[in-house]
Amino acid sequence: MNESMSLTIILPLLGALLAAAWPRRGVFIGITAVLLSGLAVGWLWFSLLADGPSHQALGGWDPGLGIRLQVDALSILMLSMTALVALAVSVYASHYFTRRSQAERFWPLWLLMIAALNGLFLAGDLFNLYVTLELLSLSAVALTALGGKRAGIAAALRYLMIGLLGSMGYLAGVALLYSAFGTLDMQQVAAQTGDDPVSQAALIVMTAGLLLKSALFPLHFWLPPAHSNAPAPVSAGLSALVVKAGFYLVLRLWTEVFPDTLSTQGVTLVAVLGGGAILWGSWQALQAERLKLLAAYSTVAQLGYLFVALALFMSAPPGVARELLFGALVLMALTHAFAKSSLFLAIGVIQHRAGHDRIAELDGTAQRLPATTFAIALAGVALIGLPPSGAFLGKWRLLYSAISLDQWLLVVVIGIGSLLAAAYVFRVLGHAFGRSALSVQAIHSVHEEWPALLLALTATLLLGFGSAWIWPFLEHMA
């Protein structure tokens, strides 16, 4: 069990080192490493099912002195999401870069990013989380700038600054917690937090830093340029996985480290911001002239849903409905990861084939790129929250909780957000169905079109019809 925990981090790390030392074998090393770390996640599944949630302090020291890794239902779901999305994106990326120098630069950074994500999802130590956060943001920034375009570099620079600012806020909270409680171990800290000023101050600065990193409205301004200017596989990774890291941490901190510290005002504030994100992100996505920008703003909106769900979860009274909402929240996060990565990969195909991603000039894409259009449609269905996607189930439970808690304003916001989402998705599809002989080259390339389609099918059919196990799983393995 414990070996597999370490392996999910070590394997991509080793892959990154090999790919850095031996750039010409990047593709082979990259795919192999992603596959192997996926297998390690699979192994972790087996051990988790056999032994239940577990933790381990590295170095053989007691937790507190040593750094603890921990795995439970939530972290393994995040790990699996990372593994699957990373695999599909890697297959896609193996043929994406036209210049070899770019490909050679991609793989080590990409593997470092995966290692950082896996490390983050497994970490049980507050400072270690800081290091993984920094590893994540540095590798993500470097990947963002990989395209070499001016806009991409500017976006990467801003992304980096914001990331640093956010981690500093987080670190300030960690420093305070250590000074008060004399430990960095999450469980040990959690045992001591309460309604005291230290816990509150730490919670505020840590949450603020993480909200900045996870781009919650109105702290989202850095996200659209970064996600829309990176190369397609990178955008997919950023939008599907990296923003989830910040959200995941907020979730962990709120529910596990500071359960007694959080005030209702704080929860309300996050709910309001989440609602703002839904409306503003969807509206901006509707206004976007480029596909990638649309997808990026859609991420802003989708993060809004996640934070609204989290706020509702925090304010719901204990009981079955609350547990069900938690599962829905996780399901929404998973669905978004698959749908958004699919969308970005599909956009990458269009950009490759049409030479641009301007929405107004996409007429006739459906005829030339049927599989890609289908992927966009399925991903779009998941983003709107329509059946047969996992997001439909998630949204159902979300609205259920909002109605049960008499949060009618949120109901309205979610409703409007869904309609706006439908509007921006079908704005694209309308053009795709349009009839116009344009210069899109027809393709039948398996590497290029299939990863997006498979990801979209996962987001819709698999998570829509095959996710009932998530709820009991989250309950028994927490």
Binding site: L386, R397, S418
Partner: protein, 500 residues
């Protein structure tokens, strides 16, 4: 896995799987695609026949699949769903034959028939839905699978029409979903039961239940084209004729009307709905729609648009029948679900034949078309007379039951005038067409003659379907008292609703 827990799922799958395969077929594999289509349609018909037989014998068919805790996909066969499943399966078979002929040379057929199959799968799923959640799920799927069909031609008008269609139906779906979720928040996951379950709820919830009813009816009313939610229907006319047939007779509009029937009878229960005072507003909305649709139809020169407004009007007979408290009204509404389907599909097939064969789109271009295309026009005539309510076509039977139901329920003072006015208006916009088609001399040339007259007026796969459906409309009227007729089946449904 036994037949009793798998048959409903198999019925959905029998069109779903061929549809998914068709997506991946090459454009050129015409024969394979047609074989798959026909195979799916016939297989579905066989399965549905088995289901009908079983339900008639009070066998129990139900497929359950948990999607999430509290959100179960339930496919359940009861008398009402069997009626709708039969209708859509039968008409889908006919429409498939028609569509294969109609789209013989147009591009993107794999995409078209793929979505075509998905569309009917969603309709059947909706018919078999055993709870509100499942119903909403298929309701949304139906929206999604019809969008590409409406947009199929790819012209700016088609894309625009599809967008309007989508804006209406997705908003409606959202409202329906909200109502369903609210209901679930109030009473838990609710299964459809004949007679409904809500009447046991305490009085203080009645206010909320009224609001929920409003949300549900608005959500369903969009697809059922209740005024003022009908705006999409005339816009969606840009779709190819088989799609229009599907939208108007088999799937979309019908799904909305069917949903209203479901909500009133099997969620609220007709008695409870009546106690809450919900039937009267529903009936008035239906009446307004009936009259309004007919009036608008009068002034349309475009044949398909005239038919579209006629649909707006005719579908609301179903809602009207639902709103009339009493078994006769129920029989009238439910039977009209079938009757309107076979008659309207006939009309659309015929309209499609005119357009495809001769390029005739406007009523004003139809002079003397009866002599050039006698078989098609014969079918058209049967459909039109049925719509007006002239015996012995099926439409007459529905109207008869609706009228008797109104008398029985004591609401005749406003229902009968509506029925009469509507019939008069129907006559006013259908009879001139018939007069032009049969009795006026033909113009020297047709707008765009695509298919020259050889042995028959047009391809067999185009003129046979309307003849079949016209014959059905006649049969359903002539043998309304027969053992298997829609009216008898509606009687069975009414019996089960009111005897509880």
């Amino acid at each position: 896995m036994t037949l009793s827990n798998s048959l409903p799922a198999l019925i959905v799958a029998s069109s779903l799987l061929p549809g998914l395969i068709i997506f991946f077929l090459r454009e050129g594999s015409h024969r394979l695609r047609s074989v798959l289509n026909m195979f799916g349609a016939i297989l579905k018909l066989v399965l549905v026949a088995a289901l009908t037989w079983g339900v008639f014998q009070d066998d129990f068919f139900e497929t359950r699949w948990q999607l999430a805790p509290g959100l179960e996909l339930v496919l359940h066969a009861d008398a009402l769903s069997v009626l709708f499943v039969n209708l859509s399966t039968l008409l889908w078979l006919v429409t498939t034959v028609y569509a294969i002929g109609y789209l013989e040379h147009s591009p993107h057929r794999s995409r078209f028939f793929g979505f075509f199959s998905l569309c009917v799968s969603a309709t059947v799923g909706l018919a078999l839905a055993g709870n509100m959640f499942t119903f909403v799920l298929f309701y949304e799927l139906l929206t999604l699978s019809t969008y590409p069909l409406v947009a199929h031609k790819g012209t700016p008008e088609a894309v625009r029409g599809a967008r309007i269609y989508l804006a209406y139906t997705l908003s409606g779906g959202l409202v329906l979903m909200l109502g369903a979720i609210w209901l679930q928040a109030l009473v838990g996951p609710l299964e459809f039961v004949e007679g409904g379950l809500l009447s046991q709820l305490p009085d203080e919830l009645h206010g909320q239940l009224t609001w929920i009813f409003l949300l549900l009816i608005i959500g369903l009313g969009v697809k059922a084209a209740l005024v003022p939610l009908h705006g999409w229907l005339p816009q969606a006319m840009v779709a190819p004729a088989p799609v229009s047939a599907l939208l108007h007779a088999v799937a979309v509009v019908k799904a909305g009307a069917f949903g209203i029937v479901r909500v009133v009878y099997d969620v609220y229960g007709i008695e409870f709905a009546s106690d809450l005072g919900l039937l009267m507003p529903l009936g008035i909305a239906a009446a307004v729609t009936i009259v309004y649709g007919s009036i608008r139809a009068l002034s349309q020169d475009n044949l398909k648009k005239r038919l579209a407004y006629s649909t707006v009007s005719q579908v609301s007979y179903i809602a009207l029948g639902t709103a009339i408290f009493g078994p006769l009204g129920t029989i009238g509404g439910v039977a009209h679900l079938v009757h309107q389907g076979v008659m309207k599909i006939t009309l659309f097939f015929a309209a499609g034949n005119y357009a495809e064969t001769l390029g005739v789109h406007q009523v004003s271009e139809m002079n003397g078309i009866g002599r050039r295309m006698p078989l098609t026009t014969l079918a058209f005539t049967v459909g039109a007379l049925g719509m007006i309510g002239i015996p012995p076509v099926a439409g007459f039977v529905s109207k008869w039951y609706l009228g008797s139901g109104a008398l029985e329920a004591g609401v005749a003072h406003w229902v009968l005038p509506v029925l009469i006015a509507s019939s008069a208006l129907n006559a006013a916009y259908f009879l001139p067409i018939l007069q032009r088609a049969w009795f006026r001399p033909a113009a020297s040339s047709w707008p765009q003659e695509n298919i020259p007259a050889r042995r028959f007026e047009t391809h067999a796969s185009l003129f046979l379907p309307p003849l079949v459906t016209a014959a059905l409309a006649l049969l359903f009227g002539l043998f309304a008292g027969a053992y298997w007729s829609p009216v008898e089946w509606a009687g069975l449904i009414a019996e089960r609703e009111y005897l509880r």
